[in-house]
Symmetry: C2
Subunit: 193 residues, 2 copies
DNA sequence: AATTATGTTGGACATATGTCTAAATATGTA
DNA sequence: TACATATTTAGACATATGTCCAACATAATT
Protein backbone atom coordinates (compact mmCIF):
# COMPACT_ATOMS: atom_id res chain seq x y z
CA UNK A 1 0.00 0.00 0.00
CA UNK A 2 1.34 3.39 -0.95
CA UNK A 3 -0.64 5.39 1.57
CA UNK A 4 0.68 5.30 5.11
CA UNK A 5 -2.25 4.18 7.26
CA UNK A 6 -0.37 4.82 10.48
CA UNK A 7 -0.21 8.57 10.05
CA UNK A 8 -2.72 11.04 11.47
CA UNK A 9 -6.14 10.58 9.89
CA UNK A 10 -7.40 13.28 7.60
CA UNK A 11 -10.66 13.85 5.79
CA UNK A 12 -9.10 13.53 2.36
CA UNK A 13 -7.77 10.08 2.94
CA UNK A 14 -10.82 8.80 4.77
CA UNK A 15 -13.20 9.87 2.01
CA UNK A 16 -10.98 8.48 -0.71
CA UNK A 17 -10.23 5.14 0.93
CA UNK A 18 -13.91 4.61 1.73
CA UNK A 19 -14.98 5.54 -1.79
CA UNK A 20 -12.60 3.12 -3.48
CA UNK A 21 -13.34 0.18 -1.23
CA UNK A 22 -17.11 0.67 -1.33
CA UNK A 23 -17.09 1.03 -5.08
CA UNK A 24 -14.99 -2.10 -5.48
CA UNK A 25 -17.51 -4.11 -3.50
CA UNK A 26 -20.40 -2.65 -5.45
CA UNK A 27 -18.71 -3.79 -8.64
CA UNK A 28 -18.02 -7.23 -7.19
CA UNK A 29 -21.74 -7.69 -6.72
CA UNK A 30 -22.06 -7.28 -10.47
CA UNK A 31 -19.06 -9.05 -12.00
CA UNK A 32 -16.00 -11.17 -11.26
CA UNK A 33 -12.97 -9.49 -9.77
CA UNK A 34 -10.95 -10.55 -12.82
CA UNK A 35 -13.06 -8.20 -14.95
CA UNK A 36 -12.86 -5.14 -12.74
CA UNK A 37 -10.39 -2.61 -14.11
CA UNK A 38 -8.85 0.35 -12.36
CA UNK A 39 -10.30 2.54 -15.09
CA UNK A 40 -13.84 1.38 -14.47
CA UNK A 41 -13.43 1.63 -10.71
CA UNK A 42 -12.30 5.24 -10.97
CA UNK A 43 -15.10 6.19 -13.31
CA UNK A 44 -17.71 4.68 -11.01
CA UNK A 45 -16.59 6.56 -7.93
CA UNK A 46 -15.58 9.67 -9.80
CA UNK A 47 -11.94 9.86 -8.88
CA UNK A 48 -9.11 10.24 -11.39
CA UNK A 49 -6.78 7.31 -11.89
CA UNK A 50 -3.90 9.32 -10.50
CA UNK A 51 -5.67 9.44 -7.14
CA UNK A 52 -6.09 5.69 -7.11
CA UNK A 53 -2.38 5.26 -7.66
CA UNK A 54 -1.65 7.76 -4.91
CA UNK A 55 -3.12 5.26 -2.47
CA UNK A 56 -2.63 1.80 -3.92
CA UNK A 57 0.03 -0.09 -5.83
CA UNK A 58 -2.65 -1.85 -7.85
CA UNK A 59 -6.08 -3.37 -7.50
CA UNK A 60 -4.82 -6.27 -5.37
CA UNK A 61 -3.50 -3.73 -2.96
CA UNK A 62 -6.95 -2.19 -2.67
CA UNK A 63 -8.42 -5.63 -2.07
CA UNK A 64 -5.94 -6.23 0.75
CA UNK A 65 -7.01 -2.92 2.28
CA UNK A 66 -10.65 -4.01 2.07
CA UNK A 67 -9.93 -7.21 4.01
CA UNK A 68 -8.12 -5.15 6.61
CA UNK A 69 -11.10 -2.84 7.06
CA UNK A 70 -13.51 -5.73 7.33
CA UNK A 71 -11.38 -7.60 9.80
CA UNK A 72 -11.46 -4.57 12.08
CA UNK A 73 -15.17 -5.24 12.50
CA UNK A 74 -14.27 -8.61 14.00
CA UNK A 75 -12.41 -7.12 16.99
CA UNK A 76 -9.35 -9.29 16.72
CA UNK A 77 -7.80 -7.79 19.84
CA UNK A 78 -10.48 -9.48 21.95
CA UNK A 79 -9.21 -12.94 21.05
CA UNK A 80 -5.93 -12.32 22.74
CA UNK A 81 -7.21 -13.06 26.23
CA UNK A 82 -8.60 -16.46 25.31
CA UNK A 83 -6.95 -19.80 26.09
CA UNK A 84 -5.48 -21.57 23.08
CA UNK A 85 -7.90 -24.42 23.50
CA UNK A 86 -10.86 -22.06 23.29
CA UNK A 87 -9.60 -20.06 20.38
CA UNK A 88 -10.62 -22.37 17.60
CA UNK A 89 -14.16 -22.55 18.92
CA UNK A 90 -14.54 -18.84 19.59
CA UNK A 91 -12.90 -17.89 16.31
CA UNK A 92 -15.28 -20.20 14.51
CA UNK A 93 -18.34 -18.74 16.25
CA UNK A 94 -17.35 -15.17 15.52
CA UNK A 95 -16.45 -15.74 11.90
CA UNK A 96 -19.63 -17.74 11.47
CA UNK A 97 -21.70 -14.88 12.86
CA UNK A 98 -20.04 -12.40 10.57
CA UNK A 99 -20.64 -14.42 7.43
CA UNK A 100 -24.17 -15.18 8.56
CA UNK A 101 -24.90 -11.49 9.08
CA UNK A 102 -23.52 -10.61 5.65
CA UNK A 103 -24.93 -13.68 3.95
CA UNK A 104 -26.90 -11.81 1.30
CA UNK A 105 -24.02 -9.66 0.20
CA UNK A 106 -21.68 -12.65 0.28
CA UNK A 107 -24.03 -14.73 -1.87
CA UNK A 108 -24.49 -11.92 -4.34
CA UNK A 109 -20.74 -11.52 -4.70
CA UNK A 110 -20.09 -15.25 -4.88
CA UNK A 111 -22.61 -15.63 -7.69
CA UNK A 112 -20.08 -13.87 -9.92
CA UNK A 113 -16.87 -14.88 -8.15
CA UNK A 114 -16.27 -18.57 -7.81
CA UNK A 115 -14.35 -20.22 -5.01
CA UNK A 116 -11.22 -20.69 -7.14
CA UNK A 117 -11.08 -17.17 -8.53
CA UNK A 118 -8.68 -14.42 -7.58
CA UNK A 119 -11.11 -12.82 -5.13
CA UNK A 120 -11.59 -15.93 -3.04
CA UNK A 121 -7.88 -16.73 -3.26
CA UNK A 122 -7.01 -13.33 -1.89
CA UNK A 123 -9.53 -13.59 0.96
CA UNK A 124 -8.37 -17.08 1.87
CA UNK A 125 -4.76 -16.01 2.02
CA UNK A 126 -5.63 -13.04 4.20
CA UNK A 127 -7.77 -15.10 6.57
CA UNK A 128 -5.12 -17.76 6.77
CA UNK A 129 -2.49 -15.28 7.87
CA UNK A 130 -4.82 -13.59 10.35
CA UNK A 131 -6.07 -16.77 11.97
CA UNK A 132 -2.56 -18.16 12.14
CA UNK A 133 -1.37 -15.02 13.85
CA UNK A 134 -4.10 -15.32 16.46
CA UNK A 135 -3.33 -18.97 17.06
CA UNK A 136 0.40 -18.27 17.24
CA UNK A 137 0.09 -15.52 19.76
CA UNK A 138 0.91 -17.55 22.86
CA UNK A 139 4.39 -18.61 24.00
CA UNK A 140 4.24 -22.26 22.92
CA UNK A 141 7.39 -22.91 20.97
CA UNK A 142 7.51 -26.58 20.12
CA UNK A 143 4.94 -29.17 21.21
CA UNK A 144 5.63 -32.90 20.89
CA UNK A 145 8.54 -31.94 18.63
CA UNK A 146 6.09 -30.28 16.25
CA UNK A 147 6.79 -26.59 15.55
CA UNK A 148 3.88 -24.57 16.87
CA UNK A 149 3.77 -22.42 13.76
CA UNK A 150 2.92 -25.57 11.87
CA UNK A 151 0.15 -26.43 14.28
CA UNK A 152 -1.20 -22.89 14.09
CA UNK A 153 -1.28 -23.09 10.32
CA UNK A 154 -3.01 -26.44 10.55
CA UNK A 155 -5.70 -24.96 12.80
CA UNK A 156 -6.02 -22.07 10.43
CA UNK A 157 -6.37 -24.29 7.36
CA UNK A 158 -8.97 -26.41 9.08
CA UNK A 159 -11.06 -23.52 10.31
CA UNK A 160 -11.07 -22.09 6.85
CA UNK A 161 -12.06 -25.40 5.32
CA UNK A 162 -15.04 -25.67 7.64
CA UNK A 163 -16.18 -22.11 6.98
CA UNK A 164 -15.97 -22.82 3.27
CA UNK A 165 -18.39 -25.71 3.77
CA UNK A 166 -20.71 -23.52 5.81
CA UNK A 167 -21.01 -20.72 3.32
CA UNK A 168 -19.43 -21.34 -0.06
CA UNK A 169 -20.53 -24.81 -1.08
CA UNK A 170 -23.51 -25.73 -3.18
CA UNK A 171 -24.63 -28.07 -0.38
CA UNK A 172 -23.71 -26.26 2.80
CA UNK A 173 -23.53 -27.77 6.29
CA UNK A 174 -25.21 -26.46 9.44
CA UNK A 175 -23.47 -24.79 12.35
CA UNK A 176 -23.98 -27.92 14.43
CA UNK A 177 -22.48 -30.18 11.79
CA UNK A 178 -19.63 -27.75 11.42
CA UNK A 179 -18.76 -28.00 15.12
CA UNK A 180 -18.73 -31.77 14.80
CA UNK A 181 -16.37 -31.53 11.82
CA UNK A 182 -13.97 -29.30 13.71
CA UNK A 183 -13.93 -31.77 16.55
CA UNK A 184 -13.27 -34.65 14.23
CA UNK A 185 -10.55 -33.00 12.18
CA UNK A 186 -8.72 -31.42 15.09
CA UNK A 187 -9.59 -34.17 17.57
CA UNK A 188 -6.14 -35.33 18.62
CA UNK A 189 -4.71 -31.87 18.92
CA UNK A 190 -7.49 -30.55 21.12
CA UNK A 191 -7.34 -33.47 23.55
CA UNK A 192 -3.65 -33.06 24.26
CA UNK A 193 -3.94 -29.39 25.10
CA UNK B 1 -6.28 -23.45 -22.39
CA UNK B 2 -7.03 -22.65 -25.99
CA UNK B 3 -5.19 -25.59 -27.49
CA UNK B 4 -6.96 -28.93 -27.32
CA UNK B 5 -4.51 -31.32 -25.66
CA UNK B 6 -6.69 -34.32 -26.32
CA UNK B 7 -6.30 -34.21 -30.07
CA UNK B 8 -3.68 -36.13 -32.02
CA UNK B 9 -0.19 -34.85 -31.26
CA UNK B 10 1.69 -33.00 -33.96
CA UNK B 11 5.17 -31.58 -34.25
CA UNK B 12 3.98 -27.96 -34.27
CA UNK B 13 2.22 -28.20 -30.99
CA UNK B 14 4.84 -30.28 -29.24
CA UNK B 15 7.65 -27.91 -30.13
CA UNK B 16 5.68 -24.84 -29.26
CA UNK B 17 4.28 -26.09 -25.95
CA UNK B 18 7.72 -27.27 -24.88
CA UNK B 19 9.38 -24.01 -25.89
CA UNK B 20 6.96 -21.84 -23.95
CA UNK B 21 7.01 -23.90 -20.79
CA UNK B 22 10.78 -24.31 -20.75
CA UNK B 23 11.32 -20.63 -21.38
CA UNK B 24 8.91 -19.70 -18.62
CA UNK B 25 10.86 -21.79 -16.14
CA UNK B 26 14.16 -20.36 -17.32
CA UNK B 27 12.78 -16.90 -16.67
CA UNK B 28 11.46 -17.94 -13.26
CA UNK B 29 15.01 -18.82 -12.26
CA UNK B 30 15.88 -15.19 -12.88
CA UNK B 31 12.92 -13.16 -11.66
CA UNK B 32 9.53 -13.31 -9.93
CA UNK B 33 6.56 -14.55 -11.91
CA UNK B 34 4.86 -11.21 -11.38
CA UNK B 35 7.51 -9.56 -13.55
CA UNK B 36 7.40 -12.00 -16.44
CA UNK B 37 5.48 -10.57 -19.38
CA UNK B 38 4.11 -12.37 -22.40
CA UNK B 39 6.19 -10.04 -24.55
CA UNK B 40 9.43 -11.00 -22.86
CA UNK B 41 8.56 -14.68 -22.89
CA UNK B 42 7.95 -14.59 -26.62
CA UNK B 43 11.14 -12.70 -27.36
CA UNK B 44 13.20 -15.17 -25.32
CA UNK B 45 11.93 -18.23 -27.12
CA UNK B 46 11.62 -16.52 -30.46
CA UNK B 47 7.94 -16.97 -31.08
CA UNK B 48 5.55 -14.18 -32.03
CA UNK B 49 2.93 -13.17 -29.49
CA UNK B 50 0.20 -14.38 -31.79
CA UNK B 51 1.49 -17.92 -31.42
CA UNK B 52 1.41 -17.69 -27.65
CA UNK B 53 -2.23 -16.65 -27.80
CA UNK B 54 -2.98 -19.50 -30.20
CA UNK B 55 -2.22 -21.86 -27.33
CA UNK B 56 -2.94 -20.06 -24.08
CA UNK B 57 -5.53 -17.68 -22.71
CA UNK B 58 -2.87 -15.86 -20.75
CA UNK B 59 0.26 -16.50 -18.75
CA UNK B 60 -1.64 -18.18 -15.89
CA UNK B 61 -2.93 -20.63 -18.41
CA UNK B 62 0.61 -21.49 -19.45
CA UNK B 63 1.54 -21.96 -15.80
CA UNK B 64 -1.35 -24.38 -15.34
CA UNK B 65 -0.10 -26.31 -18.36
CA UNK B 66 3.38 -26.47 -16.80
CA UNK B 67 2.01 -28.01 -13.61
CA UNK B 68 0.15 -30.54 -15.70
CA UNK B 69 3.31 -31.55 -17.54
CA UNK B 70 5.27 -31.86 -14.35
CA UNK B 71 2.60 -33.89 -12.60
CA UNK B 72 2.75 -36.41 -15.43
CA UNK B 73 6.27 -37.23 -14.25
CA UNK B 74 4.76 -38.31 -10.93
CA UNK B 75 2.72 -41.17 -12.43
CA UNK B 76 -0.53 -40.36 -10.71
CA UNK B 77 -2.28 -43.39 -12.18
CA UNK B 78 -0.14 -45.65 -10.00
CA UNK B 79 -1.69 -44.31 -6.82
CA UNK B 80 -5.08 -45.63 -7.75
CA UNK B 81 -4.37 -49.15 -6.59
CA UNK B 82 -3.31 -48.11 -3.10
CA UNK B 83 -5.46 -48.38 0.03
CA UNK B 84 -6.72 -45.06 1.35
CA UNK B 85 -4.75 -45.53 4.53
CA UNK B 86 -1.51 -45.87 2.58
CA UNK B 87 -2.13 -43.00 0.23
CA UNK B 88 -1.04 -40.18 2.48
CA UNK B 89 2.24 -41.89 3.19
CA UNK B 90 2.99 -42.93 -0.36
CA UNK B 91 1.93 -39.57 -1.75
CA UNK B 92 4.22 -37.89 0.72
CA UNK B 93 7.17 -40.11 -0.19
CA UNK B 94 6.75 -39.59 -3.91
CA UNK B 95 6.29 -35.84 -3.73
CA UNK B 96 9.23 -35.63 -1.34
CA UNK B 97 11.43 -37.53 -3.79
CA UNK B 98 10.42 -35.29 -6.64
CA UNK B 99 11.17 -32.07 -4.79
CA UNK B 100 14.41 -33.58 -3.49
CA UNK B 101 15.51 -34.50 -6.99
CA UNK B 102 14.71 -31.00 -8.28
CA UNK B 103 15.97 -29.24 -5.16
CA UNK B 104 18.49 -27.02 -6.94
CA UNK B 105 16.07 -25.77 -9.53
CA UNK B 106 13.40 -25.30 -6.88
CA UNK B 107 15.72 -23.29 -4.66
CA UNK B 108 16.84 -21.15 -7.55
CA UNK B 109 13.26 -20.35 -8.48
CA UNK B 110 12.18 -19.77 -4.89
CA UNK B 111 14.99 -17.27 -4.38
CA UNK B 112 13.02 -14.92 -6.62
CA UNK B 113 9.51 -16.18 -5.94
CA UNK B 114 8.39 -16.10 -2.35
CA UNK B 115 5.93 -18.49 -0.80
CA UNK B 116 3.07 -15.96 -0.90
CA UNK B 117 3.57 -14.87 -4.51
CA UNK B 118 1.44 -15.77 -7.48
CA UNK B 119 3.69 -18.63 -8.56
CA UNK B 120 3.48 -20.48 -5.26
CA UNK B 121 -0.23 -19.73 -5.00
CA UNK B 122 -0.83 -21.29 -8.38
CA UNK B 123 1.23 -24.37 -7.58
CA UNK B 124 -0.48 -24.84 -4.22
CA UNK B 125 -3.91 -24.63 -5.76
CA UNK B 126 -2.97 -27.15 -8.43
CA UNK B 127 -1.45 -29.57 -5.92
CA UNK B 128 -4.42 -29.22 -3.65
CA UNK B 129 -6.85 -30.19 -6.37
CA UNK B 130 -4.67 -33.07 -7.55
CA UNK B 131 -4.07 -34.54 -4.11
CA UNK B 132 -7.71 -34.15 -3.20
CA UNK B 133 -8.71 -35.98 -6.35
CA UNK B 134 -6.41 -38.87 -5.48
CA UNK B 135 -7.71 -39.04 -1.92
CA UNK B 136 -11.32 -38.82 -3.10
CA UNK B 137 -11.00 -41.61 -5.60
CA UNK B 138 -12.48 -44.39 -3.47
CA UNK B 139 -16.18 -44.98 -2.79
CA UNK B 140 -16.34 -43.59 0.75
CA UNK B 141 -19.26 -41.21 0.80
CA UNK B 142 -19.73 -40.00 4.35
CA UNK B 143 -17.66 -41.15 7.31
CA UNK B 144 -18.75 -40.40 10.89
CA UNK B 145 -21.22 -37.91 9.39
CA UNK B 146 -18.28 -36.02 7.89
CA UNK B 147 -18.42 -35.57 4.10
CA UNK B 148 -15.49 -37.42 2.60
CA UNK B 149 -14.68 -34.56 0.27
CA UNK B 150 -13.98 -32.50 3.35
CA UNK B 151 -11.69 -35.16 4.76
CA UNK B 152 -9.90 -35.47 1.42
CA UNK B 153 -9.34 -31.72 1.36
CA UNK B 154 -8.08 -31.86 4.92
CA UNK B 155 -5.56 -34.55 3.99
CA UNK B 156 -4.55 -32.52 1.00
CA UNK B 157 -4.08 -29.33 3.02
CA UNK B 158 -2.02 -31.17 5.60
CA UNK B 159 0.22 -32.92 3.13
CA UNK B 160 0.88 -29.63 1.46
CA UNK B 161 1.64 -27.93 4.73
CA UNK B 162 4.24 -30.56 5.59
CA UNK B 163 5.88 -30.39 2.16
CA UNK B 164 6.10 -26.63 2.58
CA UNK B 165 8.04 -27.16 5.79
CA UNK B 166 10.32 -29.66 4.10
CA UNK B 167 11.30 -27.49 1.18
CA UNK B 168 10.13 -23.91 1.32
CA UNK B 169 10.93 -22.73 4.83
CA UNK B 170 14.02 -20.94 5.97
CA UNK B 171 14.47 -23.62 8.64
CA UNK B 172 13.34 -26.82 6.98
CA UNK B 173 12.50 -30.10 8.70
CA UNK B 174 13.89 -33.54 7.87
CA UNK B 175 11.99 -36.36 6.22
CA UNK B 176 11.83 -38.18 9.53
CA UNK B 177 10.42 -35.19 11.36
CA UNK B 178 7.98 -34.68 8.53
CA UNK B 179 6.61 -38.21 8.95
CA UNK B 180 6.12 -37.54 12.65
CA UNK B 181 4.24 -34.33 11.87
CA UNK B 182 1.91 -36.08 9.45
CA UNK B 183 1.18 -38.67 12.12
CA UNK B 184 0.49 -36.05 14.70
CA UNK B 185 -1.70 -33.82 12.55
CA UNK B 186 -3.70 -36.61 10.94
CA UNK B 187 -3.52 -38.95 13.93
CA UNK B 188 -7.19 -39.45 14.67
CA UNK B 189 -8.21 -39.87 11.10
CA UNK B 190 -5.60 -42.50 10.30
CA UNK B 191 -6.44 -44.65 13.32
CA UNK B 192 -10.11 -44.94 12.45
CA UNK B 193 -9.46 -46.11 8.92
C1' DA C 1 -5.44 37.40 5.27
C1' DA C 2 -1.34 35.77 3.43
C1' DT C 3 1.77 32.01 3.18
C1' DT C 4 3.32 27.47 3.20
C1' DA C 5 2.87 22.65 3.06
C1' DT C 6 0.32 18.81 1.54
C1' DG C 7 -2.50 16.31 -1.29
C1' DT C 8 -5.30 16.11 -5.74
C1' DT C 9 -5.94 16.30 -10.58
C1' DG C 10 -5.60 15.97 -15.77
C1' DG C 11 -3.02 14.67 -19.26
C1' DA C 12 0.84 12.55 -21.52
C1' DC C 13 3.90 8.65 -21.79
C1' DA C 14 5.86 4.00 -22.47
C1' DT C 15 4.62 -0.41 -22.15
C1' DA C 16 1.49 -4.60 -21.78
C1' DT C 17 -2.70 -7.22 -22.93
C1' DG C 18 -5.65 -9.82 -25.83
C1' DT C 19 -8.12 -9.99 -30.45
C1' DC C 20 -8.25 -10.02 -35.22
C1' DT C 21 -6.85 -10.19 -39.90
C1' DA C 22 -4.81 -11.87 -44.39
C1' DA C 23 -0.74 -13.81 -46.08
C1' DA C 24 3.04 -17.04 -45.59
C1' DT C 25 4.63 -21.42 -44.33
C1' DA C 26 5.10 -26.01 -42.45
C1' DT C 27 2.72 -30.46 -41.92
C1' DG C 28 0.93 -35.18 -42.74
C1' DT C 29 -0.95 -37.82 -46.24
C1' DA C 30 -2.14 -39.69 -50.75
C1' DT D 1 6.67 -35.46 -54.72
C1' DA D 2 2.57 -32.73 -54.69
C1' DC D 3 -1.23 -31.31 -52.40
C1' DA D 4 -4.93 -29.82 -49.22
C1' DT D 5 -5.03 -28.62 -44.62
C1' DA D 6 -3.59 -26.79 -40.45
C1' DT D 7 -0.70 -23.66 -38.15
C1' DT D 8 2.18 -19.73 -37.82
C1' DT D 9 3.14 -15.09 -38.46
C1' DA D 10 3.39 -9.80 -38.83
C1' DG D 11 1.14 -6.10 -37.90
C1' DA D 12 -2.76 -3.23 -36.56
C1' DC D 13 -6.17 -2.30 -33.12
C1' DA D 14 -8.57 -0.98 -28.79
C1' DT D 15 -7.92 -1.01 -24.24
C1' DA D 16 -5.39 -1.37 -19.65
C1' DT D 17 -1.44 -0.50 -16.60
C1' DG D 18 1.55 2.21 -13.85
C1' DT D 19 4.58 6.44 -13.74
C1' DC D 20 5.41 11.13 -14.05
C1' DC D 21 4.84 16.09 -13.82
C1' DA D 22 3.06 20.61 -13.65
C1' DA D 23 -1.07 23.00 -12.39
C1' DC D 24 -4.36 23.23 -9.04
C1' DA D 25 -7.11 22.96 -4.64
C1' DT D 26 -7.34 22.36 0.18
C1' DA D 27 -5.75 22.54 5.04
C1' DA D 28 -2.79 24.21 8.44
C1' DT D 29 0.25 27.89 10.19
C1' DT D 30 1.74 32.37 10.77
Amino acid sequence: MKYDLSKKTNRFAERTLAAFSETLFTLLEQKPFEEVTVNELCEKCNYPRATFYNYFQDIFDLLEYCWQSISKELHIAEYKELETSERTQVLFERLYSYFEKEENKVNQIMSHNDIDGLLAQSLKRYMLLQIREIMMDCPHGIKNDIPFEMIATHYSNTLQLILEWCFFKKETISKKEARKCINYLLGTLEKED
